[in-house]
Symmetry: C2
Subunit: 224 residues, 2 copies
DNA sequence: GTCATAGTTATCGTATACGATTTCGTACTC
DNA sequence: GAGTACGAAATCGTATACGATAACTATGAC
């Protein structure tokens, strides 16, 4: 991950608040009162303030001058923006990583994907989502460009924040997702060219967005 | 832009320090001492600290616990990462914006490009660089995804920071760049499909990177 | 009953202060 | 002369305190 776990109280506050947002304790719209959080964590307001601003920079929190901070998220438009951006970033990340993925990693990814299939049968969407991240993490672990990897993680955090409160499983999409993972692995194994892999990875994410849009009847934005 | 110009002292400090970095007053490696900056700006250290951390989140500054902040930049690897990421983001931004660009905007972009050509004759690399940003700004001004636009701006800021101190003009590259701009405009005018535009825009940035790499003999990373 | 206004409260924004940590220089030893 | 240990200076990290701003509430006029 990008951040160190503990050390300064600022880091501590950052990690704590972020965790609460990502796991859904603080739901979107939740009012983050500096003094209250400071008390909860047993620190003063200064490091908390710093933590909040950092979260703001990552898009997890909205900060309004002289008013305060709220957990951002809910807005479907925001979801759309995030998914679209993520499809582009993940597409690139996959293409860049592909040449560096060895057979061991492929095997690991395949094992994760098998577990995901199990989750479908036992209907465990929470674990499914976690495994989904694991799957892509395996692919990206040797990504040669750390900036891109960082953007991927940021996107995931935003999604987690949204998902914890508003995300609804789109029926059937999960099954397709597992199949697409396998197809992706085969492309990588066969040393397909970068563009092909990029497009496939991008569509993988876009398809989830499209499924969501189809369900909610929001206007489509997927240019690909 | 992403940030409001003035209001809180924190914003003020952020803008001030950022400006100094982007314009090159604070060159990469420069040691940013909180107390000193605070005094210079006539504020206390707390808002300065906040500003610095914000700049850190944007990658303009490197912050080390109990040691202090330094302007980040110089590293050629970093340049490479940034350019590669930017090529991906700009490619996507251009493709997404293209359908929304009207003939008026095209004309404006063309005018900017003509000025760039003038700069080449009068050898004015500083103005050339500024106009280059203007050119792309015109294309992106109606970008439907603000997240992507934000990433573009972040990339530009990082480049500005690096460029102010270390960037060297690659001979001949500027001429090509101007030609590529015109080609890009023609693609947009002719309603070329999104993929074509994306690839062209991406290569436009990648080519600059490649020219740089060719000059410095650094290992190539450009997958596209 | 509704709207405007003044006063109160909650919360933020920043200054100051001090303890904690690192860095640098100096003296001492081998 | 090189290396190590100790001490001083510089700088960061955080707590506390207080002024500033906005949200809320109650009171009064129409």
């Amino acid at each position: 991950m990008t951040e160190t776990a503990v050390g300064s109280k600022s880091e501590q506050a950052y990690a704590a608040v972020k965790a609460r947002i990502v796991e859904g304790t603080y739901t979107p719209g939740y009012r983050l009162v500096l003094a209250k959080i400071a008390e909860d964590l047993g620190v003063s307001v200064v490091p908390v303030r710093e933590a909040i601003r950092r979260l703001e920079a990552e898009g997890l929190v909205k900060f309004e001058r002289n008013v305060g901070a709220t957990v951002s998220g809910i807005d479907p438009t925001e979801y759309l923006y995030t998914m679209q951006t993520l499809s582009i970033i993940e597409g690139a990340a996959t293409a860049l990583s592909a040449p560096l993925i060895d057979s061991v990693a492929i095997a690991r990814a395949r094992a994760v994907n098998a577990e995901m299939r199990d989750c479908l049968e036992h209907f465990d969407p929470v674990r499914f989502t976690a495994l989904n991240q694991d799957f892509h993490s395996v692919l990206f672990e040797h990504c040669p460009n750390p900036h891109i990897l960082d953007l991927v993680h940021r996107g995931w955090n935003r999604l987690a924040s949204i998902r914890a409160s508003t995300f609804r499983f789109v029926p059937g999409r999960a099954q397709e997702s597992v199949k697409e993972h396998e197809a992706l692995l085969q492309l990588i194994e066969s040393n397909a060219d970068a563009d092909t892999i990029e497009q496939a990875a991008r569509r993988h994410r876009s398809a989830t967005l499209d499924a969501y849009l189809a369900q909610t009847n929001a206007g489509s934005l997927s240019a690909h």
